[in-house]
Amino acid sequence: MQKNKRQNKAAIPEQEPRVSVPHQNIPPRGAPPAAAIKPFQIRGRYFTAVALRPEDGPLDQAFYAALDAQLRWSPHFFDGAPLILDLAQAPGLTRPAELQALTDCLRSRGLAVFGVQNASPLQTAAAEDAGLITIASGKDAPLNTDGPARPGTRRELPKKLRPPQNRLITRPVRSGQTVVAEGGDLVVVGPVSSGAELIARGSIHVYGRLRGRAMAGAEGDEDARIFCHSLDAELLAVAGLYRTSENLEPELLNHPVQVFLQDGRLCVETLG
């Protein structure tokens, strides 16, 4: 009898909260039930990937040697960067085993390969076998259009005219500073010191001496250019293709120049 009583006593306080707590707490929390109970959210994500575009040749020792040389040249640039295989120039790369081997070799070098683009139907199938997704390359349209056509196509994307997202800097850019124009062109009126970094989605204009690093077309715009009053840069890059001070022609130094991509090559030309 006593035992029973104790059990009852114990059971009541245990049960009470079980019944009352949910009744008190759930309704306010779950007020708009359908929306809040959803266990995930869907967000658009936008990021930059590096595209590796193999030429249509055998993927042999020479290919990997050249790749390794490139990675040594700029080790941090590729660190953990998501990488897409752009097969536009390599229609012959169709055998699943070959694609798998390439993927494995790239991953063993710390490159995070996750997809292919510009793939033929055969290549798409091979990519699927290798666990790679196929990225529609229609997005790349701005890269393929000619210069004059670009402003038009760009403006068509947003329905309303937005203010240009360019950035103007009127002070010297000092060593250790990084100036980013995420949405457009970057204009610097003043010198850019050695050790400073300019990054722009569009073009970069420097009305002064450029001693630091300048990266235009940071999101892949191959029409972006770099202009500067006096060239003494540590690094010039357009849409990921770059040159360092060591491989700039010495006769260009201290001259006004423009830097642009032409036929997949980074050209540096004097102005005026």
């Binding site: 002070r171 010297p172 850019v173 000092r174 060593s175 250790g176 500073q177 003043g190 010198p191 010191s193 050695s194 050790g195 400073a196 001496r209 001693r211």
Partner: protein, 282 residues
């Protein structure tokens, strides 16, 4: 403590002497600029921010008179008046020494601000002698500055470090953070200028330095034995016997307070025969 000579409000201007690189002459410059301002009748205090490596007190010749220091004041262990050391040569000049036993973490932003606010009420010029580097000590020294003297040697690494510091002045200081505030006004002071080494190509030309730093030139201090001598004696170089370096500092201070003085590059003359006959030449 004597009464204020001036009736009007003190100017209360905070000037940081900084450089990034070590050994370029920040402390010498702080002492010389402070002493010259004081000699011109401005109430001036020089603060040592190099916690743990204090030198300013030695260069100012008051190392034996340090009882309380900047850190004691920040931590509330002493009153500001107790820590300030009045110069024996110039009554308008004071020194706020730092601690030799603590480290830079003892500098708190609130503490520094409080001390500087108190000093602004009393002094015309508050010269902050920054430690080398761009870490806490240097950042605290520059944080509340109104103006900056960036000391640089005509040498590539010193110039690059100064450039970095100029960038910090425009980004991390109190003035940089406040919307609508004037940015910190920076001046470049070239020290250890050596004509012969520049003409040899061993050192950078003044134009090249200024081209990189793109800020107005406050003065060019020649490399001079007088500087080392004055430091060892514990006398700010402008209060020691006349020398090319002292003249250059005097001119620099004149420019700092807005005088128009033509830039001249002085150098110590080699003692001529007559000088050698008639005694010591500086």
């Amino acid at each position: 403590m004597s009464k204020d000579l001036k009736l009007e409000e003190p100017l209360g201007k905070v000037i940081v002497v900084t450089s990034g690189k070590g050994g370029v002459g920040k402390t010498t410059t702080s002492a010389a600029v402070g002493a010259e301002l004081a000699r011109r009748g401005h109430k001036t205090v020089v603060i040592d921010f190099d916690v743990g490596l204090r030198n300013l007190d030695m260069i100012m010749g008051c190392e034996r008179r340090v009882v309380f220091d900047f850190i004691n004041v920040i931590q509330g262990d002493a009153k500001l008046k107790q820590a300030l050391i009045r110069d024996r040569r110039l009554e308008t000049l004071s020194v706020l020494p730092t601690s030799q036993t603590r480290d830079k973490d003892a500098l708190t932003k609130d503490g520094v601000q409080k001390v500087l606010e108190e000093l602004r009420q009393e002094f015309d010029y508050i010269i902050c002698d920054s430690p080398a580097g761009i870490e806490r000590g240097a950042q605290m020294a520059m944080h509340f500055a109104d103006e900056a003297i960036v000391v640089t040697n005509p040498e590539v690494s010193s110039v690059r470090d100064s450039d970095r510091v100029l960038g910090l002045l425009n980004s991390i200081t109190d003035r940089a953070g406040k919307a609508g505030a004037e940015p910190v006004k920076a001046h470049v002071l070239i020290t250890r200028h050596d004509k012969s080494r520049i003409s040899n190509g061993e050192m950078m030309k003044v134009e090249d330095v200024l081209e990189v730093l793109a800020e107005p030139l406050l003065g060019i201090i020649p490399e001079s034995k007088a500087v080392l001598r004055a430091s060892n004696l514990g006398v700010p170089v402008v209060l020691d016997d006349p020398s090319a370096a002292a003249t250059a500092y005097e001119d620099a201070v004149g420019r700092l307070i807005g005088e128009q003085i033509e830039m001249r590059i002085a150098a110590d003359r080699r003692p001529g025969l007559l000088q050698r006959l008639f005694g010591r030449a500086v």
